[in-house]
Point group: C2
Chain length 364, copies 2
Amino acid sequence: MINSSKSVSLTSKTVQTGFSMNKNITLQDIAKALNISASTVSRALTDSYQIGAKTKKLVLDYAKQHHYVPNRMARGLKEGKSRSIGVLVCSIDNNFMAQMLDGIDQHCSERGYQIIIMQSKELYEQEKANVDLLYASGIDGLLISPSYQTVDFSHLTHLQELGVPVVLFDRLSKHIDTHKVAVDNFKGAYDATMHLINNGYKKIAHINWDTELSVATKRFEGYKQALEDSGIKLNNDWIKFIDTTNAETLTLQLDTALQELMDFRPSPKAIFTATDLISTKCLALLHKRGYSVPKDIALIGFSNTDLADVLNPSLSTVHQPSFEIGSLAAQQLLSLINGKDTNSFQTILLPTELQIRASSQPKN
Amino acid sequence: MINSSKSVSLTSKTVQTGFSMNKNITLQDIAKALNISASTVSRALTDSYQIGAKTKKLVLDYAKQHHYVPNRMARGLKEGKSRSIGVLVCSIDNNFMAQMLDGIDQHCSERGYQIIIMQSKELYEQEKANVDLLYASGIDGLLISPSYQTVDFSHLTHLQELGVPVVLFDRLSKHIDTHKVAVDNFKGAYDATMHLINNGYKKIAHINWDTELSVATKRFEGYKQALEDSGIKLNNDWIKFIDTTNAETLTLQLDTALQELMDFRPSPKAIFTATDLISTKCLALLHKRGYSVPKDIALIGFSNTDLADVLNPSLSTVHQPSFEIGSLAAQQLLSLINGKDTNSFQTILLPTELQIRASSQPKN
DNA sequence: CTGTTAGCGCTTTCAT
DNA sequence: ATGAAAGCGCTAACAG
């Protein structure tokens, strides 16, 4: 019934451009049309080691002309690999993540790998379910930035045992042994805090994300270290941890935190914020509350927004090489997939970049 | 060799948690272990119409216990569908797109569909190649926001003929007949321009994207219509079209355009910008050139940035329901995939939202 | 209700 | 250099 005849059916319904409704042409179709065996076609198509030059050209020409495109599922099923990798992130819906995904996609698609992106929405259970789904779809490897809930990494080590390499990016954990790619959060935070100190600020508050993830803890440590190295005593009343998982809680908690900070005596004269969302939202809330930045309070924070220059005032940031994080992580994963030695897992920490703008200028 | 024995090999290398290196458990494995046929297992797993309750429970329990997860490639190959859809966009690396992708992902993943995202980077050839790749991977449908180069849509109509439904989102075209989802760009532009006029502005410039895409042309028309309806004569010297495909050209051309606009006599007193990038960049450049907004020149433009409130000054925008565009488009595609009648393709135009802030306030 | 059989499209020995 | 045949994991007639 299908392909029963070579003649183009002009009566098939919804003919629009002269094409018949014939489904995808398969390797078998080519074999039949050319009166050669399927294996020969396969060899020609995959550029096998030995194949007649003319046969090869014949096949290739026919394939191109008829717009043949190999069935990835069949090939994947046969080979036990899919040339696709899973990318599991908390949320796709923010600029920083989009930039990293861009880096991942760039690297992978140039090498013929497809990426399947899934979101955990910061939910551990969702993350586990997605890992299963990805595994089921035959991914050759997984790139993951774990949810902030994730403390048990057995779903990932299990994947490794199944032969699927895993690479962590952005958010790292010591609970799994593999390649990891992120920025040097400690140093980034240290630099930012030091910058404030160098600009004459001593009363420096810190607002961070309420999580055990190293992205947060390292930045907190960098902050503390900078203070310590400068002989400034830590003031716990100036340190706030807030829940950033959704926009509303974030705004609410941040607003409260800010109010407490500004009302406290002695009040801090500068803030170092640890995440993109906190930084920009902090600026907005300060603005709304009528505080002048940096006159009333200076601000610097981690953020990758393109709009830092246009903000009011322009926002000093610790900028992360997001695209590079993504492409490097992808590179590490592909090298794992393609059998580079798995003995020596490495953790790559890229440098952050301090971008000084108006919000962190000296008070006078 | 594989699965030759049920005994856990304790000598296999890199045993970490007591798991053997056995690969994924298959449906066949379950059948063997339970001494039933593969089809029975399959039926139990797929919740087939008639299957013994105890057998079913037996299988399900065993499957869960052994963490069985069906091979999606095998299933896809067999069924001729993959429960995955392709999403082809110009670039993932911007907030607006990320929001739409979030909407798509949400809708699809809730219904068991995987999405495969690819980027055309505004290149027609790349778009065509990606369509092939997606088709090869067995997508059940395609969601696409075409590259700005795309004028020939035969790669998409061909896909339709092959039986793969296509839905356009954000960027629409009349060259293909299918479901389409976007916002009412004409009205959004009309409203924005009208808002400026209502605020007392009559000399209104317009900066748009240099493309034939309807997103651009409709917005231009909305602008013109608002002027006409208000009895304001169009001044072609106040209308600029620029190339926004990469950040550098954009900045360069926009800067030039702005300079020409401000130097021209009579000079415009307000600008309506047609795209996200142009709007925010415009504000930045005006700021850099020392113009005061809205005192020297008012500004309103299409943009979905979360930071509009914090910009300097806060930016009046035409805001698009990005998440809804994505999820609606996904919904339309899934209904096509699942055989809802394809006779009556519809174009859904969501309303935009005018968000008035400081940049468009009356001059005095 | 369950087992047998065939086959989705492709690659890959093993022959020739 | 090419062909024949087997099989990846799964589902779906078709029997019983």
